[in-house]
Amino acid sequence: MKHTLKFIFSSWILLSPLFLHAQEAQKKDSVPDKTYRYGLRVGLDLFKLSRSFYEKDYKGLEIVGDYRIAKSYYLAGEIGNENKTVDDDRLNFTTKGTYFKAGFNYNAYENWLDMENLVYIGLRYGVSSFSQTLNSYQIYNANPYFPEPAAVQPGEKFSGLSAQWVEFVAGVNAKVFNNIYVGFSFRINKLVSNKKPQDFDNLYIPGFHRTYDGDFGVGFNYTVSYFIPLYKTKTEKAKEAVKK
């Protein structure tokens, strides 16, 4: 699995300049007169919000935001809080914490006319601060002969844990009407640092989600956001037309 992920990552990294180039080439032959609106977009992750209702062991909230800094580039970030209880065969634990992710998105979608949609890839750096409570565990015994002891319920809390990671994002954000956007994104995360508790592990990290084979994670969000326009610019062609 780890190798597959590595392969996907590396092929992605290898491919991305190619397709950025391809997009630039396309630009030349389609230069419609149009204005670009710049501003701040803030939204809410409905996936986390709805899970909080239908999944009794989960509570989460994520606020997303981006700010357009160039025609195709956006400063982007997420801030959130999660409280998740995981009930595995051998372990039951609760992770609580807050996270913050910051980075950028590159919009690879060439909009027609006055469309303002995004099909983007991006990069984030995530930081999470959390605590874990080990609710119960069962000792693994491959050779049961004596009666199996009852699950141990230490209720031990490990505080002051933290993790940092790099996140690759790919997503879509579509303007549905006026300044309302609906979008979703997929994420692959790789841990950079992970402060683990003594004699336990960070099996779930808020914002990073479940950890796989040590340092990989995946994520998804479904957002509804509102765009607050701040200023506008026009394309070169449109500017020239104004001068004449």
Binding site: I8, D89, Y109, Q138, I139, Y145, D201, Y212, F216
Partner: protein, 184 residues
Amino acid sequence: MKKIATILAVLLLVNGFSACEKDDICSEDTPTTPRLMIEFYGDNNVLKPVTNLKVTADGVADPIVFNADVTTASRYLTNASNIALPLDLSAEKVTYEFTLNATDTTGLLLKTDKIEFNYRRKTVYVSRACGYKMLFDLNNLPDLPEAYVLNNTTPPQAGNWIKRIFIEKFNLESENETHVKIYF
């Protein structure tokens, strides 16, 4: 656009696959709670196989199963020169009854010795799939009960068939090591 669609598809796939990662199953290769590994030695300090040895813990109805594939009574018998005995996870001592020539009906060759093992326990985190394992330390401190007691004799006397017991390794960390040597 096509490339973006491909990337999204790949990401979707990754999302799907990762749900059935191998770290959901505790692999047999992962060292978990170890058993007490015992080796049997003859006079010249050479490994010596036992004959029809049956081992039963005090308070447990069935003897230890040595041949899980067999359904007859011989599943409880071993003729090997080494055995693995589980320790009780919820106690700090366990007493095993070692019966040599257990199939002997005449009662001439059938001999029984009891060994009590005293140990301390600690739990150690392994992984998500395996959870916690328990490691044991056979007692090796003056104020604790002896690591082993043969037939309730202290200091230990030779048993009915066991001549001498030697603790090779006090801390049980894996099953790839010998913990106890029994001379007979």
